[in-house]
Amino acid sequence: MTLAKRLCSLVLVDDTGRPRQKLEKGGLVADFAEAIASFLAQDGADEIWLRLDPTASPTGKGANALFAPLSALESRVFLPLVAWAPVQSPSDARLLAGFGADRVVVDVNGGGADPVGFIARIAQTVGADRVVAALSVRRSAGEKGVVWELVDGAGQGMKIDALALCELLPAAGACEVLLVPSVPAPQSDRVVHDGDLIEQIASRLSIPVLSAGEDREPADLAAALLMGADGVVTSLFSSGSPTIAAGKARLTEMGLTVRPVDGA
């Protein structure tokens, strides 16, 4: 028996630390991040990811927006806590770890032309096994076939091969890779997990590979997990419907190993 596939429940918060979406369960409505995270933990989430809404004001608090929810969660939710906010320097990452995050997501494109050096500097600052390197990528057809290119915050290609870059990230200190497709899939109106990319990267790396997408049903998660992702980062369960229990049951039916919801 190896590791269970992870369902990482994403809670999106605004610049004041309040969640973008309420959660309803059993007639109760949760509208604070810590209350939502507690519900998700009880429902079977394997990790709680707090993300500052990428559309939040660029002149706002930045990483500081996660202070209140992380501080509250630290003593209420006993699962791994991951913080995802703009990290532009090692001090931003250290701030998030100091707020109580067990791991910090760092968008590699923040390093400009030197994404590996950027990750290395942050890993040296926040300690071993704390940095999740996030890659926003788009696929395109090149002369040698499909190419996955890193994109910047504005969605523009950076002419950096995502596959080649990934192979350098473990040595730089990243403990996990998070794949974030950046453009809608062909013949779709949403950004979905890129199974081909997941398969390519998972087969090359000895660190966990996670994937994020705009999921609408548990089958969307299965697509990523069956292609080799070790976990999925999703807001599918953040409203309380569907439940994580239902999602895990569906994944189990598909032959995937997940942690039982009761934690035992």
Binding site: M1, F78, G100, D262
Partner: protein
């Protein structure tokens, strides 16, 4: 979730220089333990329970703790027969050998070497073995521990706990009981002998079952007679 502190139960979480303690302290307090952080032998002497926590597994972090009295504190406490819990990286301090050049040598309270997952290995799907080993994994055999048996549901093969580590102990440890986990090779998910318990997983990251483990292990009980041999000194 938080309980009023249980009368008479105090735990010292030992800061060994590389320690990650905030979540652990919060988890202990959530189950009613009066938990405090300390880094001295003197403070450890006063505890009902001593906990050697997880920490950052790198040379710089471990070197910080090498010159401290942490090793002496653990060795001395183990001789009292009071409950001693090591978690994650803290387990390596109870084993034999040295994890990094800058780290203090293990105390040998469990006669097994600290070892690393071999990055050249592959898993069942021929994929490179994940290092670090991160996520929830099944631990089999914990139901043989006198205080922790109730954590394993009847009929279940084991219990699921959260891991994050690169170091581990072998699945066979002389003169100790072992609950086994598997990651390419079998390794010790938990090792225990008398009042000593070493868990490679992180109870403070394992949800409800992790809190139950902390509650069960810190329940008031009489000290068991010292069984630690001279090797700890």
């Amino acid at each position: 979730m938080h309980e009023t502190a249980r009368v008479g139960v105090s735990a010292i979480v030992l800061d060994h220089g590389a320690a990650r303690t905030r979540r652990l302290l919060a988890a202990l307090r959530a189950v009613g333990v009066d938990a405090r952080l300390a880094d001295t032998t003197l403070a450890a002497r006063s505890a009902d329970v001593l906990i050697v926590p997880d920490g950052d597994d790198d040379d710089a972090s471990l070197a910080r703790g090498a010159g401290m009295g942490v090793r002496d504190a653990v060795a001395e406490f183990a001789l009292t027969g009071r409950p001693l819990l090591a978690i994650g990286l803290g387990v390596s301090l109870l084993l034999e050998g040295q994890v990094h050049a800058g780290a203090p040598p293990g105390l040998g309270l469990f006669r097994a070497p600290v070892q690393r997952f071999d990055p050249r290995m592959t898993d069942e799907s021929e994929r490179p073995l994940l290092t670090p080993h991160v996520g929830f994994a099944l631990v089999v055999g914990l139901d043989r521990h006198p205080l922790l048996a109730s954590l394993v549901p009847k009929g279940a093969p084991g219990a699921w706990f959260a891991f994050r580590h690169r170091l581990c102990a072998p699945a066979r440890v002389p003169q100790a009981d072992v609950a086994v986990c598997h990651h390419g090779v079998p390794f010790a998910g938990a090792i225990w002998k008398d009042a000593l318990l070493a868990v490679q997983f992180l109870p403070e990251h394992s949800g409800r079952i992790g809190l139950e483990l902390l509650r069960a292990f810190t329940q008031p009980r009489a000290a068991t007679p010292p069984v630690v041999e001279g090797r700890a000194s």
